[in-house]
Each structure stands twice: as C-alpha cells, then as structure tokens.
Point group: C2
Chain length 157, copies 2
DNA sequence: ATGCCTATTGCAACGCATTGCAATAAGAGG
DNA sequence: CCTCTTATTGCAATGCGTTGCAATAGGCAT
C-alpha cells in the first residue's frame, strides 16, 4: 500500500470501476482487495487461502462473500481462477501472459510452465483442430523428465 | 453381465486379483464392480454419479466406501480418475490409449481429445523440457475453433 | 438530507470428497 | 469348524465450494 494509505493501481481504482458498472463498493470487497493487493502480481493462491487472509483482516468475513467477490473481480480481469492438480481452486492475481503449471504425479512437484512450453502446447492444439487452450486454467499432470527417466513404464495416477 | 450371472472380463476375475494382493472381496466392492461393468468401456462418469448408481443397487451404500474402492481399482488399472472443467472428479472406465477431454468455456461443450491432438500435445511438451503429460488427468479448457472465430479477443474464465 | 431501487451480504443448507477411528468381517491357517 | 490377523466398513467430522433467500445497505435522484 502507498504511504497515504491508498492502494497501488489497479487496486486503487476498483471502487470506481465497480460503480461504473452499476456494482457497489462495500467494506467486504475492500477487505478482499486489500488482501489481493498484498500478494505478488502473477502469484497464485488457493481460494481457501484468500478466505483465510480475509478473516485475518476482518474476523467477520464469510466465505461465500469472498467467493462471490472473486467472481466479480474475475469479470474485471483482475484475477483468473484455475484448478490445481487435485482439482482445488486457485487464483492467479493480475495474470499476465500465458501462465500455467505442470505437476509431476510421481514426485509431487509443481512448476510454472515456461513460455516455450506454453507456446508449444498452444501451437500444437491450434494446429490440430483449432482449439485455443487456456493453458492457465488447469494444472497439467504427468511426470517430469527426471521421474520419467527413472521409471519409464509404470502406471500412475 | 453374462447369462450365467457372472460378469464379463476383466470384472469377473477381480475377486481373485484382489485376494492375490492380500486384499478382500466384499459385498460392497461387488456392488461397485457391478455398476462399473454396466458402463460402456472407455466411458467416463463422475464419482458422485457412481455413488448414486451404487445406492440404486444397494441403499446401504456409503460414499466413503465407494471412493475407497475406486482408489483400489485405480491401482489395478481398471479405472483412472481425472478432473472435469470444474475440477470435479470423473472416472474413466477401462481406459485405453490416450484419452482426454477439451472443454470450451465459451459454449460449454466438451469433446474427446482426438488421437492426433493428444499426440500433438504430448510431443510438444516432451520436446520442450521432457515432461510426459498424462493427458487424461485433466480436462483442457479453452475455446473451440468456432467460438474462437466468433469472438477472437474477448476475456473469458 | 431523504427515499427508493436493487446489488450485496450473512446465514443456513447442500453437494462433493477426504480422513480418523472403533467395530466388523474376510479369509488363511490350523 | 474355529481362531486369529488385519483389511474393510460405517460413521461422524472436516474442508472446500455453491446456492437460495430474507435482511441490509450502497448510491443515484430528488
């Protein structure tokens, strides 16, 4: 937050953007925005984690309000939700560019997808039927190069 | 099921396979197997749907037992679980080959991934870092060729 | 400052999925 | 057929996420 107590953009102007759409600026939404403004841009957090952080700022925070606020912010393009390897929700704050994840079901590690990998996958699907994948929406599961080398043919989940 | 009341393979021999591993053949598992044997091989069903079908056969069926049985069957390779576009669990019965799904967030349709698309994605990731994707584990979300043509640049979720 | 319209909230209930634990029952061995 | 080991079950509780509804409260217009 800035020295005068205001939030850095784009968070500071959200009140106006909401009102401009006939929506409202409420204390509950202010709490969610404050939490989001505290996260590293491009970072990702689970929905449950965001609820928890809101409760830390305001003990009266109720989950459904947070989830609904996140929906609204998603419409404004300020966050994007996706699903982790286990299907749970996670939010990308201020998403920029192709941002996604790979999860190795063998060693349980998760990585960011590199621009090169994203490009490769997007192009592959685009070329084979024209599907435009939103690579950030789901975590791609499989085995990393290391694990694949160690146990080439075993069955996994 | 066969005319003598037995189940077609591989379902009929599951009791033996379980016992061979030191596991047990129980009435509850029999119910789950009967339900699975009734589904089209290669088909996919949500976990909740399977629980429901089990309840139809045996009203005393309890969810946790079904989920645990599915875990065991997954170890045997008879089913594979994945996550739909909304993150919910879905099971592929008797999975064969690369089997996955694409979901269009614009028109909400879902398709099977074609062998050609699967091949393209697998190869793309393999080539860009060596990651071996399990393409059946998650439903890939994005926009189908038709929707992409209609609204090329809009923001979606 | 007041009133009105309706977006938003809080609550309660529901659905899906998982987990710990004590009681039950497979099934192998004698 | 009986015993013993322990895999499995059922239950209850927990966590995540969504939804319907009545009450509340933004905020625009007067």
């Amino acid at each position: 937050m800035n020295i005068d107590g205001s939030l850095p953009e784009p968070w500071g102007s959200i009140g106006d953007r909401l009102r401009g759409r006939g929506l409202r600026w409420t204390p509950q939404r202010e709490t969610v925005i404050a939490v989001l403004a505290d996260t590293v841009p491009g970072d990702h957090v689970t929905a449950a984690e965001l609820v928890e952080r809101c409760r830390a700022r305001d003990g009266r925070t109720v989950p459904s309000t947070v989830y609904r606020t996140l929906d609204v912010l998603e419409d404004l393009g300020l966050v994007r939700h996706g699903h982790g390897a286990d299907g749970r929700e996670e939010y990308h704050v201020l998403p920029a560019g192709e941002h996604g994840h790979l999860h190795c079901s063998s060693c349980s590690a998760t990585w960011e997808i590199t621009p090169r990998q994203a490009e490769a996958v997007v192009t592959a699907l685009k070329g084979a039927g024209g599907f435009e994948i939103d690579i950030g929406h789901v975590t791609l599961v499989g085995r990393c190069a290391d694990c694949a080398r160690d146990a080439p043919a075993s069955v996994r989940r």
